[in-house]
Symmetry: C2
Subunit: 226 residues, 2 copies
């Protein structure tokens, strides 16, 4: 994301920093903060969201206390990291909406996000979780874009009419399960799952479906619940 204006006007009286946390820090602190975020991003991608905080701190080359000082809760850190991931998804979404072929845009978006999940084990959480303090990146926006993408494909007659927005979450969760369980075969397995699902999503499959699950893309992050 790197939204944060790098140079803060030295005399600016008004405290800007809409993200909320990065400015006003001493230079060494700001540097460490970036290092922590980078390390967290890598660690989440590699090991999933359950990676111990000590691991992230070590990876960043800072003490655990520094990490805690900068991000008082686990959720605060995740919010920051996943904000960047969400931005990436939003970018993909915009790209998909610009595809002249609505179905192709939809299909390639689902495939793309599926592939991103394979690379980054934290992405699913990013998409399915709602971090109250993830300022700046609002889920609502993603959801709205997604709804447009879906509607566009339906209007073109290529996406089945009974497709539900929650089915996107279904894909993400299903793919997450496959990736988690398939070990080294994860990329191939994930591609195949997505291909299967996309075939079912096409409009020419008349068979009726069970009622959609009321899955929300947006889901409260509950650290205790696993």
């Amino acid at each position: 994301m790197s939204v944060r204006s790098p140079q803060n006007p030295p005399d600016g009286p008004a405290r800007l920093d809409p993200g909320g946390t990065a400015n006003g820090l001493r230079s060494d602190a700001r540097e460490n903060r970036e290092r922590i975020l980078r390390a967290a991003r890598e660690a989440y991608a590699a090991q999933g969201i359950d990676v111990p905080l000590t691991t992230i701190a070590r990876r960043a080359g800072v003490g655990i206390a520094t990490l805690y000082r900068r991000f008082p809760t686990r959720a605060a850190l995740m919010a920051e990291v996943f904000g960047e991931q969400l931005a990436q998804c939003t970018a993909e979404l915009h790209k998909a909406l610009q595809d002249p072929d609505p179905w192709n845009g939809f299909r390639s978006f689902v495939e793309k996000v599926g592939a991103m999940q394979t690379t980054d084990r934290g992405l699913t959480s990013a998409l399915l979780s709602h971090f109250p303090d993830a300022a700046g990146h609002d889920h609502g926006h993603i959801e709205e874009l997604l709804a447009r993408l879906v509607q566009r494909a339906k209007d073109a007659g290529k996406l089945r009419a009974d497709f539900h927005l929650g089915d996107i979450a279904l894909v993400l969760l299903a793919n997450c399960g496959v990736i988690g369980g398939a070990g080294d075969d994860a990329p191939a397995a994930s591609r195949r799952l997505v291909a299967y699902l996309l075939q079912s999503f096409q409009a020419d499959h008349g068979t009726p479906l069970p009622r959609p699950a009321p899955l929300e893309l947006r889901r409260v992050y509950a650290p205790s619940a696993s």
Copy 2:
């Protein structure tokens, strides 16, 4: 590991106990063993395979040491519990093979197992894991029956020819992900996922698929890997 062989028959000539462990125990020990298995089954179903051993012991009304004496490793306990689950699956499989309509047998089996996963969070592990000491219940048998079920449906022209046995594992893993992430909506979400997938599995969908992942139903249980 200090396995002080607890039951050494004084002179017993024929060692029966094909399951491997239950006979030759004192009556109270055998009773406790059953209690532990029952508690473990319930705990796994309710909380998944990560449930602490102390929880199982408490639930069984025995001390933790008793659990350890009977099942030296976590895997040993799981092997025993999941052996029962596998037996249940095998029964379903037989039932499906007896369905006069091959596709209907296939479909109902997949739906049934999907529903069982919703009820029992340990079942996926049971099906995807291979416990070296799960004597008595052999995965090979299940796999063979499954292969017959698949082939039968293919021969009837209802299941797509490029369906791969590993796609069954794909369904299980995907469903597992959905169940784990969907919270209270798990049953509905799972049903919908399975319905989507089953539609794609039907033979009249000509679109080619990515190459199948070499997923094996049988998978070495690796406690360290999550």
